[in-house]
Amino acid sequence: MEELIKIYLPAIFIIAPIYAVIVRILFKKSFLAKLGYTLIVLIIVSTLTTITVEKLHLPKIIGIVLRVTYLILTLVYLRTEIKILRELTHNIGKIADLNLNISINPKHTKRKDEFGDLARSLSKMQSQFTQMLSSLQNSSQELSNTSDTLSSISQEVANSASEQASSTEEVSVSLEQILASVKSNAENAQTAKTITTQTSEDVEKNKEVIFKALESIKEINKKIIHISDIAGKTEILSINAGIEAARAGESGKGFAVVAKEIRKLSDDIQTLTVKINNMVKENLTISRLAINKLEMIIIGVAQSAELISNIAVASREQENTIQQINNAVLQLSTATNQNASSAEEMATSAEELQALAQSLNELIHQFKLH
């Protein structure tokens, strides 16, 4: 036994440091190094206990009890060392359940072994994820809000575009009606122009008729002067006949009566011719007046014909212009209709986007951060 001690003790005290160095080299700061050290300490203590029990001649049972105690102490030590692992696993489990609200004992993160690394990584993961998810939550909330706004704006745009479309359509229909009216006006003006032209020609013909009448009256005038002349000569003849009848005496008495009657007749004729002459003159004045009036009518009719013609041309022009305006309005209406349907589509897309943002938001909110 003595010999055994002699060999064992030095061997242990030489081997133990070498073992410690090897463990240190092999496992560095790993938990396994702790295990290694614990193992050698257990062996040393156990050996020393054996030696002590032998030397002091103590009952064997004390050695066994001491050894069991060492073993239990070792196990208790290892259990406390391993406890961190349970804590960390528990936290990882929480994260797996999307709960980032975990607390890691700062004591653990200060450890230098793998468990320390694990605790630090977990802690880092927690803080990084929390930060990232928090900003993701904010962004998705913003996205949801923005798509909300977008949806209502595009709905508004769609509504006003469709209102605009129906308004332009109404404008176009009204223009179409105006167009029909203007066309009708143009046609009316055209007809009026034809009628006035006809009237103008008729009046012109009328003027010629009156001119002819005027000529006839002038002719009548000449003839009456001639008659008056004849009457004058007849009078002289009747005077002469009277003288001759007086000279004939009793036998000429009857003739004198005839001559006197003839003179009276020629007198009457002369009075009549004067009257007719006056009438003719009056007639001439009236006819000239009529011609003047007719000429004024001709000018008036010609002017109205011209005006109506202008109206006809202007109405046609108006018709063309309104047609062009209406075409432009119709194109506008097409464009507005296109816009309306695009806006409607946009509104639908915005609604889809809104739904997506909502579900994204819900997904992200499944993570418990605080």
């Binding site: 359509e169 109404e170 176009s172 229909v173 009204s174 179409e176 009606q177 029909a180 009216s181 203007v182 066309k183 009708s184 006006n185 046609e187 009316n188 007809t191 047609q323 209406n326 075409n327 119709l330 194109q331 209406s333 097409t334 209709n337 296109q338 309306a340 349907s341 695009s342 409607e344 589509e345 639908t348």
Partner: protein
């Protein structure tokens, strides 16, 4: 969600337009010169959307095929529909109000025809004018467009349509309604009970209208017809007017035909002799 923009890219080409124009003029008397091509194109976009056809070539083919019979009616509706308003061309209603109904007998039932009534505003305006004088009356109101007649029968108008109608008339003959937070006015049965709305083509050979009418409103209808059709329709229409009855035509319309038994009473107002 249907992408509607694709329909609005379609273009109506001349041969297809001419086919439609010939059909409309032949059957309904309405002239559609080539200048109306854009108007027709624009009005038919709605039909492209409704039928889910993306080109006018295909649409025209479909509409004139046996399968397109219903669509043909919708197409005619779209092309021939025109806007109207309450108390449009006011002078005519003033004439009835101040000169005609004013001294009219209270026991006689006045028979009135609103020819080309569109969405019914003219017929209701006539009814309101008659009601004002407690005149007994019955109105027939006809139009070519089934769609317009549906609106007319419903008698539901947006607030905008009654902008120029006096408040006391609105409160007496209309009921205010809110639909989708917008204000509408519903014509009361008090007027509706006197009016019959139905489809009638003025180009057809016989009209389902009484022959002893007292008043005919044929306003802003003739302007869409050719001169020849105008004369035919006019002669045909006044056959339904009893002697002494009144004919009202649009302000820009003229009666060219001189041999009609009509005496002019005022601007676009005629009396049958």
């Amino acid at each position: 969600m249907v992408d509607k923009t694709k329909y609005y890219k379609a273009k109506l080409k001349e041969p297809d337009f001419l086919r439609i124009a010939r059909f409309i003029e032949k059957n309904y008397g309405i002239r559609l010169p080539l200048t109306k091509i854009i108007m027709v194109q624009n009005r038919l976009y709605k039909r492209l959307v409704a039928t889910d056809i993306t080109s006018f070539e295909e649409y025209v083919k479909f509409v004139f095929s046996p399968a397109g019979k219903l669509e043909l009616e919708a197409m005619v509706d779209e092309i021939t529909t025109n806007k109207t308003e309450f108390f449009r061309e006011k002078a005519h209603f003033e004439y009835l109000d101040k000169k005609f109904f004013h001294s009219a007998p209270r026991d006689k039932v006045f028979k009135i025809w609103s020819a080309g009534c569109s969405t019914g505003e003219e017929a209701y305006s006539l009814a309101i004018t008659a009601e004002k004088h407690r005149i007994k009356y019955s109105i027939v109101a006809t139009d070519l467009s089934v769609k317009s007649l549906e609106v007319a029968k419903k008698g539901l108008y947006p607030q905008m349509a009654l902008t120029h109608v006096p408040g006391e008339i609105i409160s007496k003959f209309f009921e205010k309604k809110y639909i989708d937070e917008k204000i509408f006015y519903q014509v009361k049965n008090l007027l509706k009970n006197h009016i019959k709305f139905y489809k009638l083509n003025l180009k057809s050979s016989s009209f389902n209208v009484p022959f002893d009418l007292d008043i005919i409103f044929l306003r802003n209808v003739l302007i869409y017809f050719s001169m020849e059709t105008q004369s035919q329709v006019l002669a045909h229409v006044i056959e339904h007017l009893s002697p002494g009855g009144l004919l009202f035509i649009g302000f820009s319309e003229t009666i060219y035909k001189r041999d009609l038994p009509l005496k002019r009473l005022g601007p676009s107002i005629y009396k049958k002799i």
